[in-house]
């Protein structure tokens, strides 16, 4: 298997699918000539031409909205929202239009579109270019929400997203773009709603998303030296959410810590904790803990930004607490 970066794996998913289906087009700000703000679509304009790789004006609302319209009229748009923070400009088209159309029309519409977008802190991009917003999308019926943590998952999940007949929000943590991993060539899919156990363990279940999966794996490595065994579960898709795999893990370990970068208050971990409380309460030997960002915008200054992002040490402390 070739080694690819996370960004290359995502590009490869585009290539594989665009070669297969002429109705797929890409659109977004600077996705063509510039190759994407993070280089994800570099070279695709040369390969597929202007009809299929569209540089757009700076109009997120129209980028998302035209994708919704085009999807309902038979195309399969894959659009790039440069930073997830910009969804503020375009939210109506995504949630009132894309998300509700099928239901409102009594099941008649089909909106096969993907909105890819970069999220997350870590590069000093400050408050309007750094947030994680997965819970916001999870809250909107009609949308599917994908958040990969490895190059392998990113490619398989994106191909699945492109083939899905629903609007899919595909969240790419920007600190992952340069990460390398083995990625099969050609097409393969990872079904939505299937969590992946990234590390097996017996003492505490850690549910983590995106680059926090790697923070959890780092903590697991350190704690293993102390004789504490962490099981790291990556949901991979937040809607649909694979509760079963999480419940089964908790039934084995009896302890749960949830780790995510978005704010803790009403974050995706709140939903996961609630579901575990409903389905596996009797198996828990300790309260469910969440390690997540504090309830504030992402600060610019490096020490503040570092303090904002949930750390391996915070996770280790939480694990020790549930083990005590």
């Amino acid at each position: 298997m070739p080694d690819m970066t996370f960004a290359e794996a995502i590009k490869d998913a585009h290539v594989v699918e665009m070669e297969r289906d002429p109705n797929i087009y890409i659109a977004g700000e600077d996705v063509g000539v510039f190759g994407g703000c993070f280089g994800v679509t570099a070279g695709l304009l040369d390969q597929f031409g202007e009809k299929r790789v569209k540089d757009t004006t700076i109009t997120e609302s129209a980028i998302v909205g035209t994708a919704v319209g085009a999807a309902s009229a038979g195309l399969r748009p894959v659009i790039e929202l440069m930073f997830v923070d910009f969804i503020g400009v375009a939210l109506d088209q995504l949630y009132n239009q894309a998300g509700k159309m099928k239901y409102m029309f009594g099941g008649k519409a089909k909106i096969p579109m993907v909105m890819r977008t970069a999220c997350g802190a870590g590069i000093g991009a400050a408050a309007q270019h750094s947030q994680c917003l997965e819970a916001l999308f999870m809250h909107l019926p009609g949308l599917k929400v994908v958040m990969p943590s490895t190059p392998y998952d990113a490619k398989g999940l994106l191909i699945e997203a492109i083939r899905d007949d629903n609007p899919v929000v595909f969240l790419e943590h920007k600190m992952l773009y340069a990460m390398e991993g083995e990625v099969p060539s050609g097409a393969y899919t990872i079904p939505f709603g299937q969590a992946d156990i990234k590390r097996q363990g017996k003492d505490v279940t850690i549910v983590a998303t995106a680059n926090m999966v790697h923070t959890a794996l780092g903590a697991a490595e350190k704690l293993a030296a102390d004789g504490i065994s962490l099981e790291v579960v990556d949901p991979r898709t937040l809607y649909p959410l694979d509760g079963e795999t999480i419940f089964e893990s908790v039934k084995r370990t009896h302890r749960l810590v949830i780790l995510h970068e978005e704010v803790k208050f009403a974050g995706s971990g709140a939903e996961i904790a609630a579901q575990v409380a409903e389905e596996a309460f009797d198996y828990l030997d300790a309260p469910i803990l969440r390690v997540a960002a504090p309830f504030c915008p992402v600060p610019f200054s490096p020490p503040l930004e570092k303090a904002y992002i949930p750390s391996e040490q915070q996770l280790i402390d939480a694990v020790k607490k549930v083990m005590a």
Binding site: E29, I58, T59, D85, S301, Y308
Partner: protein, 319 residues
């Protein structure tokens, strides 16, 4: 109304101040002293300078991601700016904002903005407050050619026109929104042509001619002060550097850049003032030395200032 000699020299000084600040920021960014993103205003100095020469501290401006020039022209303190760029406690925003979010509300600077098209509604809102309170202050909205295509921009202009708000929309048409050239992003020759859609004045001006910018802005701003409503002024200009520092700029021609460097606004005003005998070479040298001294002091202030304490992470979220 005409510019006084003092104003002309002041404008020249401001432009050089912006240029030296930006060039130094480019070096500091390359040296890793400034984290995050910086978008520099080199080449576009005449726009902010010509416009802000018409404003007082009581007037408002909204800025953009490319905001350093607007801030300096509106009287911003380069010490606090530099400290903010470094992410230091003594910066304009205690290090919480960085380049894209510097604000000085005491000077009517309603913030740089990380959201393209974020500013126009804010400017109309500030203008509404001026109108509502019955003073003759105005708001000025700086926005790019790219931002001109955002829905928020159209919405804000139309509302300002309907309500006759004292706001002037200053379009900085530097021909690109990152890599996207205006030849691809619009189908009319001028952004100012869109003013017809709101029935407000739409003016095109050479954005590299500080005096021409000043004149056009003076007209729009006076109109706004007199309660006659908004106007749209498009300043044709060009950014000499990449969209952000580190941008390889593969989407535009070197020849195009060279052509625009010939029209650099600073030598143009300098030449004019030399001809008018308002400046001499030695006076220019003195101005530059003074500015360099202040810049060095600002940099030293930023270097020596502490980073914010992490105990402040959760402060300032709510009032």
């Amino acid at each position: 109304m005409d510019l006084t000699n003092e104003q002309l020299i002041q404008m020249y000084t401001t432009m050089v101040k912006i240029r030296t600040f930006e060039n130094r920021v480019a070096e500091l960014f390359a040296d890793g002293k400034i984290p995050g993103f910086v978008h520099l205003y080199v080449g576009e100095e005449a726009v902010a300078t010509g416009v802000c020469e018409n404003l007082t501290d009581k007037d408002y401006i909204t800025s953009t991601h490319r905001g350093h020039g607007h801030l300096i022209a509106k009287g911003g303190d380069i010490k606090k700016m530099m400290a903010e760029l470094f992410g230091k406690e003594t910066g304009y925003c205690k290090g919480k904002g960085g380049s894209m979010h510097i604000a000085d509300l005491d000077l009517g600077i309603m913030g740089a903005n990380g959201i393209v098209g974020g500013g126009p509604p804010l400017a109309s809102g500030a203008a509404l407050a001026c109108q509502y309170m019955g003073n003759d202050n105005v708001a000025v909205c700086f926005f790019g050619d790219g931002a001109s295509n955002q829905g928020t921009t159209h919405e804000a202009m139309n509302m300002a026109a309907c309500w006759k708000l004292p706001v002037v929309f200053i379009n900085e048409n530097n021909m690109y929104g990152i890599s996207c050239c205006t030849t691809k992003s619009m189908c009319v020759p001028n952004i100012a042509d869109r003013a017809a859609g709101y029935d407000i004045p739409g003016v095109v001006v050479d954005g590299n001619d500080a005096v021409a910018v000043w004149e056009a802005a003076a007209e729009g701003i006076n109109r706004a002060r007199q309660g006659k409503g908004p106007s749209l002024i498009e300043c044709k200009t060009y950014r000499h550097r990449g969209h952000f520092e580190g941008d390889p700029c593969t989407y535009r021609d070197d020849a195009e850049l060279e052509e625009w460097k010939e029209k650099d606004p600073i030598p143009r005003l300098e030449q004019k003032l030399l001809e008018m005998e308002l400046l001499t070479q030695s006076k220019i040298e003195k101005i530059k030395q003074e500015l360099q001294k202040d810049l060095t002091a600002a940099e030293q202030f930023a270097e020596e200032s502490p980073y914010p304490d992490i105990s402040g992470l959760l402060e300032d979220v709510y009032t």
